[in-house]
Symmetry: C2
Subunit: 80 residues, 2 copies
């Protein structure tokens, strides 16, 4: 994960690589389920063979401890 | 749809609004099915209540007639 700044807001971002679009979209859906469980929703960019996930907390316009936890949980999805 | 330029590449982009994350993700999946049918894959940014779709053709680093057709087919998904 890298810390990026978008429009003055600090965010956590990571790219994940996949073999094709279908597998990328499947991971997007796994993240969607995680987001609903957590009640916290990232931005997910789905492309052919690639998913870019960005976590931050709108309410504080930046990073909360929970964003780092959700980033770790995103990584853990890959081990399932 | 608006025409945007990213890194010197012309692309077609549109934002779609939804009530929540779940509905946004459902639309992302509809677009994913369209993409597989067409054998042409956009970038889909899924956020809480919002989906941003971007079509362009990698092979020509720009816009092909097919991108405009896929944009129209994306719109048509909403009427289903």
């Amino acid at each position: 994960w890298i810390q990026v700044e978008e429009d003055g807001v600090e965010k956590l971002q990571r790219h994940f690589s996949f073999r094709n679009f279908e597998q990328a979209l499947a991971f997007t859906n796994q993240i969607g389920q995680l987001a609903e469980r957590e009640g916290h929703h990232p931005a997910i960019l789905t492309e052919y063979g690639k998913v870019t996930v960005t976590w931050w907390t709108h309410k504080i316009n930046g990073l909360h401890r929970n964003d780092f936890i959700c980033a770790a949980k995103t990584d853990a999805l890959l081990d399932q």
